[in-house]
């Protein structure tokens, strides 16, 4: 935040503190002035783009909950954090300013029990109605209270064997009942029209387990709501309880289609916090694999999106290419889908022998395959009818709903963190950002198709660069005290072994501070906000999910349209439940 803006804010709001930490700019404001300050920032200072809102629990402090709002100014490419203390466990709702804040507030209510004054329908976001606890509070154990007896039916039917067929605890956390779910459903939507239709949660078209409620008048949707949490696994709670490096495999399982991109975003944030430099070779390997993963992810979107609209051929074709990319990843990382390939300070393995040759073969082959997809879809009359002029997102809505990724770019907003806040090796590479004009489903399709071409360009440049680098170049910055040495050194060198042992047992020693950094994922900006009070575990790790915010505009877009459009629309927003629910 530049000085002029800070001065203006200071002038307008006398008691606002501007705090500049190493990685962030924080505005501390009193609870009463919060809405006013945010309005000022949005309308006068250009901080239009809503990035995230969350809370932190400090059980020892008098006010206990601190609310944090992350905003972005697209004109000058700056972020600001606004912090405020809740009063009597209450914060004002800002859904009038940014409609997507409604979901973030629901989540904070669900996880912390913070009440938002003026929220239109403050309900549980992920857990069901009637769940009595607030899981992200510091006094709540990660495993949850064990209160119901749930024996393993395998043992119950087969009888206990010696040795036992498996090891399990008899007691279990509370499980929802069908009545709970019905209560959840009813609390969300007051019926206005003829009939409420449930779509999902276990439906092939919902891309996972999203639960949609449509209030229908005939075939057109009058109002709708989305119930999430059918894959809420408590990632943020886990992160608070384990070391920084241990959380890396969990990021794979968030947006499981683009695992390496997630890792890159996470590793990038932690490296900022710990102050780790990454060797050049590792940066290029990271970039190459992240872009391969992006192609992989877009191919899955293409295949399933087309399958939802009835085009089975595209699905089979796209999966053919996906298998090739997964083989490349498996050959290098040892795992197909959730690869856990990156490490803090580098990558886990050096390039395997022949990797670059395989990638080169893929680069040569892929443009022809892309042409095949274009031939199948781009001028297909059915495809055009189903996608053109459906779900048009305006530029203002991109900022109001906190959209990012291809969804934002299809509406003409060139918001791409690879250019704006370059990480890995993106600042040294040459690539373009495709943007759309209309912002409908068809534009989102075209943008993603063009992104694959651009990703291929990046991969090509990375291959050229990696070929020039010597084989002996380091791929992990093992000089840094918080970075684990690569495996082959650990087995040969006593010092490295001792260091690894120390990190594995005690974790990395992070300095106190806070950092927000994001990565440009195939599903939008995946951000990590880490609040550290020194030690080896984060005090709070907030995951800003691009898919969640992209989905938050769905109820608005579907209003007045038919159910058939819902499928095309959801496919174009492309959420992944692992990331929306975390």
């Amino acid at each position: 935040m530049n000085k002029a803006t800070a001065d203006r804010v200071k002038f307008e709001f006398k008691d606002v503190d501007v705090e500049r930490t190493e990685h962030t700019v924080n505005l501390h404001v009193r609870h009463e002035k919060l809405a006013e300050l945010l309005k000022h920032l949005k309308e006068r200072e250009g901080f239009r783009h809503f990035i995230d809102h969350t809370c932190i629990d400090f059980p020892d402090k008098r006010e206990r909950f601190q609310g944090i709002y992350i905003l972005y100014n697209p004109d000058v490419n700056e972020r600001v954090l606004v912090k405020t203390w809740a009063k009597d466990g209450k914060l004002p709702s800002i859904e009038k300013l940014w409609p997507c804040a409604r979901w973030a507030e629901r989540e904070a209510y669900d996880m912390f029990g913070v009440i938002y004054d003026g929220h239109e329908n403050l309900r549980r976001m992920f857990m069901w109605e009637g769940y009595p606890y607030y899981p992200l509070r510091k006094d709540f154990p990660m495993e949850g209270p064990q209160e119901v007896e749930l024996p393993s039916l395998t043992e119950l039917y087969a009888g206990r064997t010696e040795p036992p067929s498996h090891d399990f605890e008899l007691m279990h956390t509370r499980v929802a009942t069908l009545e709970d779910l019905e209560r959840t459903e009813r609390s969300r939507l007051k019926k206005k029209a003829q009939l409420v239709l449930n779509w999902g949660p276990l439906h092939p078209g919902t891309h996972g387990t999203i639960w949609f409620l449509f209030d229908l008048d005939g075939e057109s949707v009058v109002q709708s709501d989305v119930i999430l949490g059918q894959l809420h696994r408590g990632m943020e709670k886990i992160a608070e309880n384990i070391y920084y490096f241990q959380f890396l495999p969990y990021t794979d399982r968030m947006d499981y289609i683009s695992a390496i991109c997630n890792e890159l975003a996470y590793v990038n944030t932690v490296e900022k916090l710990l102050g780790v430099e990454v060797p050049q070779k590792a940066r290029y390997i990271r970039t190459m694999f992240a872009e391969l993963q992006r192609i992989n992810s877009h191919l899955l979107w293409l295949g399933t999106g087309a399958l939802d609209l009835g085009a089975l051929t595209v699905f089979l074709y796209a999966f053919r290419e996906r298998e090739k990319i997964m083989d490349i990843i498996e050959g290098n990382a040892g795992f197909r889908l959730t690869s856990a390939f990156l490490r803090i300070g580098g990558v886990h393995y050096d390039l395997a022998e022949g990797t670059l040759d395989v990638v080169k073969a893929f680069i040569k082959d892929f443009p022809q395959r892309l042409r095949e997809y274009h031939n199948l879809l781009t001028r297909n009359r059915i495809w055009l009818r189903r996608t053109k002029d459906i779900g048009i997102i305006s530029r203002e809505d991109v900022f109001n709903y906190g959209l990012s990724g291809p969804v934002a770019r299809a509406s003409g907003v060139p918001y791409d963190l690879r250019k704006l806040e370059p990480y890995a090796a993106y600042d040294e590479l040459d690539f373009d950002i495709p943007v759309g004009e209309v912002g409908d489903v068809y534009d989102r399709y075209l943008v993603r198709m063009e992104e694959m071409v651009q990703s291929l360009r990046i991969v090509e440049q990375c291959v050229a660069k990696l070929e020039k680098l010597p084989k002996s170049a380091p791929y992990v910055n093992k000089e840094h005290p918080a970075v684990m040495a690569p495996k082959e050194d650990v087995f040969m060198d006593l010092e490295d072994m001792v260091k690894n042992f120390r990190i594995v047992v005690h974790g990395e020693d992070a300095p106190p501070g806070e950092v927000y950094a994001g990565g440009e994922n195939p599903r939008g900006e995946l951000g990590f906000y880490i609040y550290s009070v020194s030690g080896s575990k984060p005090y709070r790790l907030r995951i800003r999910s691009g898919a969640l915010y992209n989905l938050s505009i769905f109820p608005k877009l579907i209003e007045g349209r038919t159910i058939a459009d819902a499928i095309a629309l959801l496919g174009s927003l492309d959420p992944v439940v692992g990331e929306t629910d975390r």
Binding site: F126, M127, W128, P135, F140, P141, M142, E143, G144, P145, L150, P151, S152, L153, T154, E155, Y157, H166, F168, E169, H172, T173, R174, V175, A176, T177, L178, D180, L181, P201, L202, P204, G208, G229, Q230, L231, H232, R233, G234, K237, I238, P249, Y250, R253, Y256, I257, L300, T304, F315, L316, Y317, F319, R320, R322, E323, M326, R336, L337, T338, G578
Partner: protein
Amino acid sequence: MVNSNGFVLTTVDELLSWGRRNALWPLTIGLACCAIEMMHAAASRFDLDRLGVIFRASPRQADLLIVAGTVVNKVAPMLKLLWEQMPDPKWCITMGGCASAGGPFPTYSTLQGMDRIIPVDVYIPGCPPHPQGLIYGILQLQKKIKEKGVKKYDKAFNDFRKDIQRQGLIPREIEV
């Protein structure tokens, strides 16, 4: 076996079991990461169709439930409902660590193993398992059906009948 007149002789049980194990129709449900590998198993390279495994969108047409992904406490009753909607005989495969035993998520919101709510026939380890792993699991299930038939349901049915009698819902005289 084929006799001299060209007839195939078999028992009804074997014929039924042959038919059942070679046309396992799973329900199309994807919960998390494992669902992607399940899709890969069904797509062009691994092609589950050649094992007679064809995904069905309705539980009424399915006889196999592949639980692919993390089952959380909120989704558990829905899965149980779907399981109850499937006609007998039916089988269940848990794919991956989460569905089998909670996997890497020992948290407040995750069900620690699908076998807490429905009986499981085959557990496939992995996070997620390869498509080959899923295919191996299906082959194991086929083997199990071949060896054991559907007898386990006799036991479950007897238990159920005893339960009902104990609760006094069926008078003893009408017992068949």
